[in-house]
Structures are given as C-alpha cells and as structure tokens.
C-alpha cells in the first residue's frame, strides 16, 4: 500500500518543530513503518467489534465528593513551572500575528 504522508502537517499537528532534514528522515521512516504495518488491512474484520479495553468493564465512576487530600498546595502546583507571574503560570502569547 502506497501511503502519502504530509509529514510537515503531521509535525505541526503534533507540535514538533523539526528541520527539513528531520522531516525528511522521519517522513521516510514513518512511511516505511506504515507500509509494513499496513498489511493489517488485509485481515478480514467484517463484523468484528473493536477492542479498546482488554477487560470488558463498564461504569467505573467516582461519587461527587471533594477529596481535599488530593488537592495540591499552591507552591507544589507552581514548583515545576518554567515561568510564573504571581500565582499564575506564564506563557508566550497565544497568537501569531498575521
């Protein structure tokens, strides 16, 4: 199966800033791997239900209770942050100027 991968689009979706050379290499490797695993498409799965969980379980819920013991202290929340301002996390602006 021939597979077309727009690798720079995929890298953008995955938020990975890669060089053209890296894109080339990864694009080729991904294509080779996909071509290898694409043989899975030959398997007849007509009427087969997909498995998303190995053990068939349903309805795992928690009750609507506040659990103060899991709430983190304010310092713990911010302790690992690369950049903060006061009680907030700080990031560069969200937009790209047109």
């Amino acid at each position: 199966m021939a597979i077309e991968i727009d690798i720079s689009h995929v890298a953008r979706l995955a938020r990975l800033e890669l060089s053209d050379r890296q894109l080339d290499t990864y694009g080729r490797q991904c294509r080779e791997l996909l071509e290898h695993v694409a043989r899975i498409q030959a398997v007849d799965t007509e009427g087969v239900e997909p498995t998303s969980h190995p053990l068939p379980m349903t309805n795992r819920f928690r009750e609507d209770r506040i659990t103060p013991e899991t709430v983190l202290g304010h310092e713990e929340v911010l302790a690992q942050a690369p950049d903060t301002e006061g009680p907030f996390f700080r990031v560069p602006p969200a937009i790209e100027e047109a």
Binding site: E17, V43, E49, L55
Partner: protein, 494 residues
C-alpha cells in the same frame, strides 16, 4: 554473605542475622562497584535508603512487621512518579522534574515496608527494547557489558540481576518487563491489565501499560506483585474484583497441567537455535514433571506486531501531548505559545519518541483513522478470540520470551523495524490484556541468559506463577552469576 532473594532476606531479617540497614549497605556497596559500568540507575537515593532502612529496623524491633517486603531495597523504573524524588521517564523533557505525588504502586510498596533505593534507567517514555533510547545514556547487561539489557525496563532488570536491589518494578507495554528480564537472566512478570493501578505510571500506551515485578525468584516476583496489585479508585481501568494471590499455588507443581506450546506466537520466525533448544529442554522437563503439552496456533497474533505499532503510537501521541513546556519540564522559548511548545517538544523528545508521536498522530488523523487505528482495534479482538480458543484446551501457554538473547549495543538502533521485532513473543499478551511471565531457563553459547515465557488467561496469575515456579525449579538456573563479586563484569570492561 550476600542476600540475593527477597524471601531469603526477609527470613534473615526476622531471625536477626541481618538488618535492613545491612541489606541497604549491601545494595549500595554492590552499586558502587558496578554502577559505573552498568548505568542502571538514573537516581540513586543512598541517603533516603539508609534512613528508611534504619526506620524499618526500628519498626521491626518494636514488633511492627509490615510483611515480607519490610526493609527490602527495591529499584523502581523511572516512569513511576515518586513524591519529592526526580522522575524523568528517561526523557530530556522531564529532566529535573520532581513530582508532588507517589504512584499508587509506589505508595503500596512503601506501605508494605519496602525501601525505594532509586529510579532506574529506561528507554525514553518506555519506548524501546534495549534501553538505548534513554536520554541519559544506555544501561549495559550485567552478564556482558557489550550487550544491551533489553528494554524498556532495562535499568530495573540490570539492577536486580547485578544485585543493586533485591527486587524491582518495571512497566510492560509490549514486553518491556519480560524481554529485559529474559536478557538479564531474571524473573519478570506482566500482570493482567487492570491488576495493578496505573495511577502515577507515566503513560506510554494506556490500554497496554502494566506495572509488574522483576526479581531473582518467581516467589519474590509474586510477593512484589501481591503488594502492589488490587483495586485503586484512582484508576478507572483498575480491576474492581478480588484476585487470587499470585503466590497462592506456588508449590502446586505441573502434574496434569495442560500446557499449550505457542512456538510461532506473534508470527515468530528467526528464533535463535540456542533459544529454541533451551525452550525445548524446558518443555521436556515439564513433561517429565507431569505436564501435558500440546502445540497450539494463534494465527491472528501474526498481526500483533502491526496492531501494536498502530495502537501504541496512536495512544502515545495523545499521552505525550501534555509535555508542552507550560506547567513543568523543559521549555524552549518561542515568540508564541505554539512556537514555544513545538520547540520544547522537538528538543525534549528523542528520535524514537518523536517518530512514534508522528506515526501515531498520522494514524489517528482524518482519512486514515479507520484504516489504521480502527482496524488495529478490531485485530485486537481477533487476537483475544485466538487466546480464548487456546485456553479452552490448556491452562497456560508457553513460548520463548525473546527470539534472541542480549544483542550488542548499537546493533539495532539504525533500523527501527529490527528493534520492533524484538517483541513478537511478548506483544500478544499486552494486546489481549493477559498475564505473562519470563523465567530464565539457560544460557546460550555466549553465556547469555535465555528466558521462557508462561502466559495465562486474564486474572489467572496464581496458575501462571505456579507453572513458572515449577519451570524455575526444573531449570535450576543460577540467576546470581553476575552478582558474584568474583564473576566480574565481562565484555567491554573485561
């Protein structure tokens, strides 16, 4: 004398012939001797270990006994969060990250009195089969330092094999406990999916990941597993019912046990002759001990590798999205949020992780979702049905754990696919969610360990450990060869 097994150490602790501090000293001394060559640990918490050991001794002296793991030093794979102890998942993107909470498995280990000696090396985010994908350098095999320890739990397997801890925890997504255990000549078990809480395990592929034990002896592995398993309200996929203790039938033997021989599991070809021979010897011994063997075929598992390399990257592409430089971990600056994230991730992830994230993102993307991810999930159903059919005829299935013994460092790093086929025998159990264990049964012509895999139906850990213990005793394999100070470390440093 040195203590090599948990059961032996636990007995000695209680008859007063050793203290927990003594065990901790033994482990630290051994580590100081071999760690420079092996690089099994990413974080070794010597001070914490000594303090915890002293406390464990005080508790025991005061008559407060937490059970068989009380005072035992354990090495933990560095993809389980440890409160106030650096946890990196072997990735540059988490270098220096200190979690504010303990994984459930870690908390349960601590509650059982075990001591966390440190955090062990792994392939970055558990993606790999050789521990060469660690951002912090590879771990080497204690049996031969030219060779890889396997992976991704190579650090824990090497640490246990080399006596740098009495037991270890790994995680297994496609074989990441069993394959390194096999390559390092120790016991490693992947429990039933849902048996051990994944809360605090840094996710690689959520529907496949399981934490499990690595140890010198099957009974030690059972002790470790029983300490960490059980329902956890913090993990929705944790099994809510009770499970028979893993060690409940350890003395049960093999008489009348129906053993399905899955030689071609996962479509395996190219099994090394020495591996095949060791496997056959072990089988013959089992038959001699009363086991009934029959060859079984699980044809759908031939698609296991393909299904795995669609499902695992797809899930990991979402699981690893949270590493974005906003709240923790590496940040590389950028003019916009998007640029900052894209640079942080590109810099923070190594090549294997990048490749799988790209692969998974593509496999889930519009237009390909059904053909790849959707189809893989259906093939998974077929594989489960194959297993179900096999288990109507037999109690356990057996196969080699790995088609090869430990391979030289660098041997497979250039060709991702050659590395991926390391896991053909182990992947099917992950896809099915069933338990599986690797037991060392012999050495190849290069004196490298060979593992034997025992698989069981979901939640049948007790039967699996029963058979594994019998295989272990029939094989009489000495796991402590590299542990012996006179053995030295072969290979590159000989």
């Amino acid at each position: 004398m040195a203590f090599t097994t948990i059961v032996g150490a636990a007995r000695a602790l209680r008859d007063g012939s050793v203290t927990s501090v003594g065990l901790a000293e033994q482990v630290l001394q051994r580590t100081s001797m071999v760690e420079a060559q092996l690089h099994a640990y990413l974080t070794l918490d010597s001070d914490g270990l000594m303090e915890a050991a002293a406390r464990a001794d005080e508790e025991l002296a005061a008559g407060s006994d937490r059970g068989p793991l009380h005072g035992i030093p354990i090495a933990v794979k560095d993809n389980m969060t440890t409160r106030h102890m650096e946890t990196t998942a072997g990735s540059r993107i988490l270098s220096g990250y200190v979690p504010p909470y303990d994984a459930t498995a870690i908390r349960r280990l601590r509650d059982a009195g075990a001591l966390i000696a440190g955090k062990t090396n792994l392939d970055e985010f558990a993606m790999g089969s050789s521990t060469e994908n660690s951002a912090f350098g590879p771990t080497r095999n204690p049996w031969n330092t030219d060779r890889v320890p396997g992976g991704s739990s190579g650090g824990s397997a090497a640490a246990v094999a080399a006596g740098m801890a009495l037991g270890g925890l790994g995680s297994d997504t496609g074989g990441s406990i069993r394959q390194p255990a096999s390559l390092c000549g120790v016991v490693g078990a992947k429990p039933t999916y849902g048996a051990v809480s994944r809360y605090g395990l840094i996710a690689f592929a959520s529907s496949l990941d399981q934490i499990g034990p690595i140890a010198h002896r099957v009974e030690d592995a059972a002790l470790l597993l029983d300490a960490i398993s059980g329902h956890d309200p913090l993990d929705s996929t944790s099994y809510p019912g009770g499970i028979e203790p893993s060690g409940a039938r350890l003395g049960g033997g093999l008489d009348g046990v129906r053993v399905g021989v899955a030689r071609r599991l996962g479509g395996a070809d190219a099994v090394e002759p020495d591996v095949e021979a060791a496997f056959d010897r072990a089988l013959a011994a089992m038959e001699g001990a009363g086991a009934v063997t029959l060859e079984v075929d699980l044809p759908s598992t031939e698609q296991g590798l393909s299904a795995y390399y669609l499902i695992a990257p797809a899930e990991c592409s979402a699981n690893l999205a949270r590493f974005d430089g906003v709240r923790y971990g590496l940040r590389v600056d950028g003019a916009t949020t998007e640029q900052m994230m894209s640079r942080s991730r590109a810099d923070g992830f190594g090549p294997e992780v990048t490749r799988r994230v790209l692969l998974g993102t593509f496999a889930l993307s519009a237009g390909y979702h059904e053909a790849f991810y959707g189809q893989a999930q259906k093939v998974r159903t077929l594989i489960r049905e194959d297993f179900a059919r096999a288990y109507r005829q037999c109690d356990v299935l057996v196969s080699p754990t790995s088609a090869t013994t430990a391979f030289p460092l660098g041997d497979r790093t250039e060709d991702p696919l050659s590395m991926y086929v390391s896991d053909v025998f182990t992947i099917p159990s992950n896809l099915a969610g069933h338990p599986a264990i690797s037991v060392p049964v012999g050495l190849d012509r290069h004196d490298l360990p060979i593992g034997f895999q025992v698989m069981a139906p979901a939640l049948e850990e007790a039967v699996m450990f029963q058979v594994a213990a019998a295989v272990e005793s029939l094989a009489g394999f000495d796991t402590t060869v590299p542990f012996d100070p006179s053995y030295g470390l072969r290979g590159g440093v000989r």
